[in-house]
Amino acid sequence: MPYTEATLQLLSTDGTLVESDRTAEYRALVDRLTDDHLRLFYREMVTTRRFDIEAGNLQRQGQLALWIPSLGQEAAQVGSAFATRPQDTIFPSYREHSIARIRGIDPIHIIELLRGVTNGGWNPNDSRFRLYTLVLGTQTLHATGYAMGIQFDGKVGTGDQSADEACIVYFGDGSSSEGDVNEALVFAQSYQTPQVFFLQNNQYAISVPVVRQSRSPLYLRGEGFGIESYQIDGNDVLISYAVTRLAMDEARAGHGPRFIEAQTYRLGAHTTSDDPTKYRESSEEDYWKQRDPIARFEKFLRFRGESDSFFEQVRQEGEELAADIRRKTVELTPPPMDVIFDHVYTDAHPVTAAQKKWLQEYEASFGGQA
């Protein structure tokens, strides 16, 4: 089982808070959250899941080439995302849909990426949510370099947490084996960058179980690089929030990088191209379904007295989001062909200019026949 002695947890599977000395400082942070905060956590998890399901449907209906669901990983993502401050920069992998939304990105832009309309999708300097990165692990180095830039700017450790910055980078259990991730840990520890490494251990890299990447817990990897590391129950939105919150505060304060391994589970397929029945047992899926991050948090909120109408309202929001996405998706049009050439370089470039011109003239030459 993925949970170890070291796994930090605040919210048990049945939705009750777990008391423990080891988690007292995290509990204190959570106790400071208002009802509105907690509702927000819930709302983001639920609406993202609804969005995810809709996107999967759209794919099956031929509207998308592919969909990459985040189903099951909502707590790890939503909790950690809310732990960042607006000035912090987020480097996602390719599954952090809820975080994109939290950072104000209309998820239609994610749809655009997976529909093949764009290779980017949004302005990462506006949202401080960088672009999705498909070559596994490469973004960890970008995050480290960015964090070094924060240091050059003197925006770390000034004592003013509202001005200081840090960044957080997401990657998977499979990706942790890539050389780049390890080099990012080396650089981060060497330069003591203001940065959190957030490993979503969803137990699989496509079909390959995490044990193939490592027979020992992955949070120890961070320790080995001399980085303070934590293993958390990634299906507990509260611990994800609290541990990330403290780690980001430490990073911002100039105390160097932190590493968090969130134990979670990819409840669905790797992508819509994937068939998980080929490589995993339904008993395992059942085990994890009982640990569903949303169900657990809903129980918690209900214990706290949250009303049916709230849950109904959130459900409704999810439906609206899904409808909105569906409408926007079918309205999407292919990009103009200039996208091939424009912005390949920032400065003028003779080859792309000439090829763009050639293509325009070539296409125009069909004008009469079309």
């Binding site: 093949g116 084996s177 496509i206 390959v208 193939r212 990447q213 191209s273 080929k278 292919p334 792309t352």
Partner: protein
């Protein structure tokens, strides 16, 4: 025995036969075991040969190729799968600085029969890094052989030849051709893998290409034939070394050559062929060698791949221009 198969299945059977014939053949890669690979090219092989011969590796391409080199030092013949074209670059150092140079460095004391299979090329509407044609990087690298089958039959026979080769082979599998079926004669004696092949004879213009481009060239030849233009189509099959004899023989007849490829044109395999044929067939060429390539840009979003990739029209446009000289 002859069967009508997809190339994916043909390569699967080629791998299976190679593994049955030689138990030093080891398959390794991401998701190739239990799942059978994201394109199912290794389906069933782990079941037949066990997890010591079909290795689901950790997720690290340099690790895959680097450990394959070590296995070759131990006398094994590893066949690595890189999941998609765009993911071969983390392994580039091990391929270029190690695999390609090891044989020379060892001066005859050690061979490096490592095959690196890479599904490559466009036409599948996929996201970034999943539709690239990286062959130029390998064709430029001395010490490697680079093969690309265009048909199920070549898929079956050439993967076996690649595994039998005592040299490192980059084996480029055109994704767009994984599923169309074709006849595979399992008992045929295949042509040597490094030979290019005339796949349609013609008299007006020679057109050459490899991988998925071969079917496109054949389509173009069909359209051209309807317009009374006769194209001779050559399937390169081997991108390093390139077998120029049939190309030059063809150009001596047609006087005109168009080279087509999905990869960006600059410093590419197409450049190499154009330069070499322009020199070798200098007295026969009645027009410059024309190249049709992907543009010199990153592979665009999938919605634009039809515009980015050479198609029948762009090939015929070049044919027309060649005929215009």
């Amino acid at each position: 025995m002859t069967e009508n198969l997809s190339m994916a299945k043909a390569i699967n059977l080629g791998l299976q036969r190679a593994m049955r014939e030689d138990d030093r053949v080891i398959l390794m890669g991401e998701d190739i075991g239990t799942l059978g690979g994201v394109f199912r090219v290794t389906e069933g092989l782990k079941n037949e040969f066990g997890e010591n011969r079909v290795l689901d590796t950790p997720l690290a391409e340099s690790g895959i190729v680097g450990t394959a080199i070590g296995m070759a030092m131990r006398g094994y013949r590893p066949v690595c799968e890189i999941q998609f074209d765009g993911f071969v670059f983390p392994a580039f150092d091990q391929i270029v600085s190690q695999l390609a140079k090891q044989t020379s460095r060892h001066q005859g004391t050690q061979s490096f029969p490592v095959v690196i299979r890479i599904p490559y090329g466009g036409h599948i509407g996929a996201v970034e890094h999943h539709q690239e044609s990286p062959e130029a990087y390998f064709a430029h690298t001395a010490g490697l052989r680079v093969l690309s089958p265009a048909t199920p039959s070549d898929g079956y026979h050439m993967i076996r030849q690649a595994i039998q080769s005592n040299d490192p082979v980059i084996f480029l599998e055109p994704k767009a051709r994984y599923w169309p079926k074709g006849d595979v004669d399992f008992d045929a004696t295949p042509a040597p893998a490094h030979q290019s092949r005339v796949v349609r004879t013609g008299t007006d213009v020679t057109v050459v290409g490899h991988g998925a481009m071969v079917a496109m060239l054949l389509d173009a030849a069909e359209v051209a034939a309807g317009e009374g233009i006769s194209l001779e189509v050559i399937d390169l099959r081997s991108l390093s070394p390139i077998d120029y004899a049939p190309i030059i023989a063809s150009v001596e007849k047609t006087g005109r050559l168009v080279v087509a490829q999905e990869a960006p044109g600059q410093a590419s395999v197409g450049s190499e062929i154009a330069a070499t044929v322009a020199e070798a067939a200098y007295y026969f060429l009645e027009a410059p060698v024309l190249r049709v390539s992907g543009f010199d840009t990153p592979f665009p979003p999938a919605n634009l791949e039809g515009t980015y990739l050479p198609d029948v029209d762009r090939i015929l446009d070049a044919v027309d221009r060649a005929r215009g000289f």
